[in-house]
């Protein structure tokens, strides 16, 4: 399963470990599994209409997520997925 690494800033605001695993073949599926494990966390990552929040970024390995609205970017079993606050947020 993909390993998910979460920014310290988020871990300070919401009870989620800095490193966890979540299953899924796309970014959307991984976030859905995170929500199953840590109810409420998706509201920290997604807008009401399920797009990635404007000032949140997700990297799949070293590559930033391309589909910020549908989160359809594929995620492989052995990849690290990074969730962090975007610098655009100030």
């Amino acid at each position: 399963m993909p390993t998910v690494r979460v920014a310290q800033h988020l871990a300070h605001q919401f009870p989620i470990p800095r490193k966890c695993v979540a299953k899924g073949r796309t970014v959307a599926e991984v976030i859905a599994d995170l929500e199953r494990q840590y109810p409420g966390v998706s509201r920290y990552l997604l807008e009401d209409h399920a797009a990635l929040r404007q000032h949140v970024n997700v990297f799949i390995g070293e590559k930033p997520v391309a589909d910020r609205n549908g989160l359809s970017d594929p995620v492989s079993e052995d990849v690290d997925l990074f969730i962090m606050q975007a610098l655009s947020g100030g």
Binding site: H9, Q13, G40, R43, Y44, D48, A51, G90
Partner: protein, 360 residues
């Protein structure tokens, strides 16, 4: 008299307590996060904090032990498919005001948000739903942001005599009223002027910065508008301008108005220089007070900075409790009065920008 004050600030919720030497900071919560509004539900004693994390979005927290512990509850969420305008999905960007329901509604709460949604809870805030009759009001496509990117609801006034009689203030659209519990809403902006519009008397597009109700005389409403100060003595049917000319007093532009809960002729505002500047008038901070329904105003300056001052007060930044008043400014100064505003004492000069002040 209430012995605490909740300050919603740019860097957290700050709690003041009253002691023999005045008001002191006694607590801080959510340090670093914007607390856009904080209030106590006086029916239950429960504290509420509305947060805007910047990166992580808006959040809603409640405390049943006066801040010793907090519980995050699901924040209001626009239903799938909601759009601000065609092709522009609606997502909650800002929690601007939280207001308890009226008599006979012990578990009801209202939340005013940007981009313009009124949310309702009937389970003490555990869940929220978008109030569709106002969201679907035919005027809403012409609502627009004033100082914010999108329109928002910042004032919610429930008639103490009738819980089905409610006003909301929307920037920018105007004041709306329902007399049937929200089934239908009607604009109540007659008499107001929007000098920034091609038609200043347009029914929709007014910018009421804040709206206040006299609790014991709920047909008396006060409004600090973008374009002046107004009062209505007939539940918003008609607004009368109570601004003054520059040579009379600084009563014209500002954000906040607070109504005395008993005297329908008494209110306070904190003037500022026009929308183009948003600073203290003549670089000197003052509070203006009327006892005759806005016909005349007293300007109080004692104890407030009168030189090199750029402070102004946001729309929820002043509160009244008996003879006591307390306000916080956009640059983080706080002042209190024990004599209905005539004289002031500095509370804490270097707080973060203050968004809301509420006695608790």
């Amino acid at each position: 008299m209430r012995e605490n004050v909740l300050l919603g600030t740019r860097k957290g919720l700050i709690v003041l307590a009253r002691s023999s030497n005045g008001w002191n900071v006694v607590g801080e919560h959510f340090v670093g996060a914007q607390v856009t509004y904080a209030v106590v539900d006086h029916r239950t004693g429960r504290w509420w904090a509305c947060l805007e994390h910047g990166h992580w979005g808006i959040k809603l927290h409640r405390s049943d032990d006066r801040g010793a512990t907090w519980e995050e509850v699901p924040a209001p969420k626009y239903p799938d498919g909601s759009e601000i305008s065609e092709g522009k999905p609606a997502s909650t960007k800002y929690l601007w005001v939280l207001e308890p329901g009226g008599s006979g509604q012990p578990q009801r709460l209202y939340l005013g948000t940007i981009p313009g949604g009124l949310f309702v809870s009937d389970d003490s805030g555990s869940s929220w739903s978008l109030h569709l009759p106002l969201w679907n009001h035919p005027s809403r496509p012409s609502w627009f942001g004033g100082g914010m990117d999108e329109a928002g609801i910042h004032s919610i006034l429930v008639d103490p005599r009738d819980s089905r009689h409610i006003f909301v203030g929307v920037s920018c659209a105007g004041v709306f009223e329902t007399r049937n519990g929200g089934e239908t809403w009607a604009p109540r902006n007659s008499g107001c002027r929007a000098d920034f519009l091609p038609d200043p008397e347009a029914e929709i597009g007014q910018d009421p910065h804040s709206v206040a109700m006299c609790a014991d005389h709920p047909d008396v409403l006060w409004q600090q508008n973008h374009c002046g100060v107004y009062r209505s003595n007939n539940a918003g049917e008609q607004w009368e301008t109570i601004s003054q000319s520059d040579d009379e007093s600084p009563v014209h532009f500002g954000f906040v108005v607070s109504a005395d809960p008993s005297n329908p002729d008494e209110a306070w505002i904190v003037p500022a220089v026009s929308d183009e500047q948003r600073i203290a008038v003549d670089r000197a901070l003052c509070v203006c007070h009327t006892l005759d329904g806005g016909k005349t105003w007293q300007t109080y300056r004692q104890g407030l900075p009168q030189k090199n001052c750029y402070d102004f007060v946001f729309r929820h930044g002043l509160d009244v409790d008996g003879d006591r008043l307390l306000f916080g400014t956009a640059t983080g100064a706080t002042f209190s009065s024990d004599d209905r505003g005539q004289t002031w004492q500095a509370v804490a000069p270097h707080l973060p920008p203050v968004y809301s002040v509420r006695f608790a």
